[in-house]
Symmetry: C2
Subunit: 128 residues, 2 copies
């Protein structure tokens, strides 16, 4: 177990995460009124492309259940997604994207991609 490699990888992750998060927050926020978490959640919903249980989202996004609940609430307030109770299990809530949500996502996607390209393209694959 190469400790130096492990720590090096951790520092790489810390640096890239900080830089990317900061840039995404700025770019997505200024240009599209979305935070990184909002974008991430929209992204998952769009790619899943059918109604999605909050619970399923929870597994895919790196957020606590409570944080996710609030992100969805914010997205719903902005009318980018709609919530509804599950018919099968009335404890459950499904989320689906609205037309406005899809449009917003599609507008924001190139911005996100540009930020990531800027930050990761000059970064060669993490190699020993």
């Amino acid at each position: 177990m190469d400790e130096e490699f492990v720590v090096g990888t951790w520092h790489y992750v810390l640096a890239k995460h900080a830089k990317a998060m900061c840039a995404l927050e700025r770019e997505l926020g200024d240009k599209h009124g979305l935070g990184p978490s909002e974008f991430e959640v929209l992204d998952r919903i769009v790619r899943h492309d059918k109604d999605l249980r909050i619970q399923e989202l929870c597994d895919e996004v790196h957020l606590s259940q409570s944080a996710l609940s609030r992100v969805v609430a914010r997205l719903e307030k902005a009318e980018l997604v709609a919530r509804g109770v599950c018919h099968n299990d009335r404890r459950g809530v499904f989320v689906c994207i609205t037309d406005a949500g899809r449009t917003r996502y599609e507008e924001a996607l190139p911005t996100q991609r540009a930020v990531l390209a800027e930050i990761f393209s000059d970064a060669p694959a993490l190699a020993r």
Copy 2:
């Protein structure tokens, strides 16, 4: 510019960051009463090994200046570091580690290393 690689790298960073941060927060917090930021700052101070300006710390840690200021305030309150005014530039503040701080850091280091090893050792170098 391979978009798939860029996005893949980003997802890797997101996943590892979330997992590591969560584990560090839990382990360092429960076992040593330190948050990840506190540990990070102690780490930099110990490695620099002579008095360090807040400003210098700011460049090395992935925190805003205000967040750093508060982390140092917390560490000082816990008597793990001491603050003092710079003699050369009396706007400046230098930070040095106390004996208790060094001890705490040395206790916490193996915990941090164990967490990182657990998370990154099974992760081969990010390769295309």
